[in-house]
Amino acid sequence: MTQPTVGPRPSVFKRIMPQLVILAVALALNVAVFPEFFHIDFRNGRLFGNLIDVLNRGAPVALLCIGMTLVIATKGIDLSVGAVMAIAGAVAAATVVDGHSWGTALLAALLAGGLCGLWNGFLVAVLRIQPIVATLVLMVAGRGIAQLVTEGKILTFDNAGLINLGAGTIAGAPTPILIWLALGALVTFGVRRTALGMLIEAIGINERSSRLAGINSRVLLVCVYLVSGLCAALAGVIVAADIKGADANNAGLWLELDAILAVVIGGNSLLGGRFSIVASLLGALIIQSINSVILLSGLPPEFNLVIKALLILGILVIQSPRIGNYIYMLRASGPQPQPDPLVRQRPEKEAAQ
């Protein structure tokens, strides 16, 4: 902090600028289909409005993409997070149904998620199985484990403490929003105020040379998958608490893909290396804003996936290296040929005369 030359602020802002612009466009689309989009009032003891919904409904993907960003930064991928959500939700529900407190249930769910993360980490870091294959195992098997826990039905519960984590509010704000904001801030500071973030990036760029440079890559890799498992567990608890029941068949279904998409929209490379959790979180909000446009538009549901695909395609095209190059060239050539317009105008005028 004492060295003003490496002050991170301007660079962070520059890094997340594209995501901010895209988010602004996505929100503007919402306003276009529903003019009262930004209207927020206080109803029934809670903030009530579409913007709150975007923040609230974006919580599961936002939580998942915190862990996913770290995993992807190490050149890995975690396909199991959706299934881990189902397991964690099932474990939490089963624990409170057994008569334990919500605190115990939360701890049990986090423990289950942590174990799943350790398992993935073990396969990737110790057995050296390719991450996409290693985590595919749990992606397929995890939902079965969750169904075993819930015995194949929707396990409903009435525990007020647990329900508060998903459907409750703190000072009017839905709890999930506060949870993902807090965890996002915690992890961002954890990796950026220490050397941890840099070490993770080093593994992603070149694991062998980072190991030769003295980084204990094996432990770090396991830790990264552990964090991903814990984030998924928290997301799973929130989703289950939101509907007061653990739905092993549907909880977190396909959300791993949304989480990966959020990381990609956040401008992080799937080939590992430099990462930005803040940008990924913005990516999650962008996805949720798009979902919101679809719901508010009132179009028949047959259009849902087409609209989503088109919007996301647009975002990815804008972010593609070639278009990025083009924008860079435009900018670079911007200030230099300032006299150009005059030069260009003159022959035009002459031609007109």
Partner: protein
């Protein structure tokens, strides 16, 4: 192997003549445990068989047609008196059904129909999805009694046959009543979580006070929507009337609590009518109709939902 099968098949051919009354053996190939309703269907089928003193051989296909075909072949080899199948897909059944026909074992389809010649099976016991939607629509017509009503609809998974048929049925039910209008319709994927999310957006886009009724294609979405309505500070069941389909235990619980108004039962008892038809056929050769429609019973607050909930909650929903 072939010799063995031929031997068994010839044994089966005379088996029904020998023992059709008391100790009847029926094979049941179930799809798997894809949903709570499916689990309830399995439980009820076992109960129905036990009630009639039938020896039920149960095979879980784990969502795979090849397992179902294997199960049917093994039933044929075991020489059962009849076979119940809940087919996982509509096509590819001709060969194995011909084998059953050669062995003179009647096959009854449960819950779903198939693309095969009608002569290959005895009958199909299914619900009428369009009829279910129509019952829901007619209930709302009576309930509103001419008053204006803006309806929001939570559809099932886009493109699935229950979603298409239940939508069409409801529209038929309210057709000709200008006071009823569907103002928003969006998919909730048959899940609680999506039902809640989509209802939240309905409440904001239309304004909770402007919505008079909710029609959900299944109870799970309605249960999710009830929570969204409560969180918006409105009273589900009073401020917004709610009608859905399936009659799962949680829907009865919601009706008992006054948070939901009506549900139409998709009965898990497909085996009852199926076994009736099988018994009649085996006893006297009476051919049933090719399609037996199950009853789509309407449940409202007039029923004892507390008791129904307690009865249904152990069926495995």
């Amino acid at each position: 192997m072939t010799f063995k099968t031929t031997l068994l098949a010839s044994a089966i051919a005379i088996a029904p003549v020998a023992a059709f009354a008391a100790d009847m053996t029926i094979g049941f190939s179930q799809i798997g445990s894809e949903s709570g309703w499916r689990a309830a269907e399995t439980t009820v089928t076992k109960q129905e068989a036990e009630k009639r003193g039938i020896d039920l051989k149960f095979a879980d296909a784990q969502q795979k047609q090849e397992n179902q075909i294997k199960a049917i072949r093994s039933f044929i080899a075991q020489g059962v008196d009849g076979i119940l199948v809940a087919p996982v897909v509509a096509t590819g059944w001709d060969e194995v059904l011909e084998e059953a026909a050669d062995a003179e074992i009647p096959v009854v389809l449960l819950d779903r129909t198939i693309d095969a010649d009608e002569s290959l099976y005895l009958t199909a016991v299914t619900s009428d999805l369009v009829h279910e939607g129509r019952v829901a629509g007619e209930w709302l017509v009576n309930e509103m009694n001419g008053a204006d009503c803006r309806i929001v609809e939570l559809q099932g998974t886009t493109g699935s046959s229950p979603a298409i048929d239940r939508k069409n049925g409801f529209e038929q039910g309210i057709a000709g009543h200008g006071n009823l209008e569907i103002v928003r319709s969006q998919t909730g994927d048959f899940t609680r979580a999506q039902g809640k999310v989509v209802m939240e957006s309905f409440l904001k886009a239309e304004g909770g006070e402007n919505i008079c009724a909710l029609y959900a294609h299944n109870d799970d979405m309605a249960v999710g929507a009830i929570q969204a309505i409560k969180e918006a500070g409105l009273k589900p069941g009073e401020d917004i009337k709610i009608v859905a389909i399936d009659a799962v235990p949680d829907a009865h619980k919601a009706i008992a609590a006054g948070e939901m108004n009506a549900t139409i039962e998709l009965t898990p008892n497909m085996a009852g009518p199926a076994l009736d038809a099988l018994e009649a056929y085996l006893a006297s050769g009476a051919m049933p109709a090719k399609w037996i429609q199950t009853e789509s019973k309407l449940f409202t607050s007039a029923d004892d939902n507390e008791a129904i909930f307690n009865m249904k909650k152990d069926l495995g929903y």
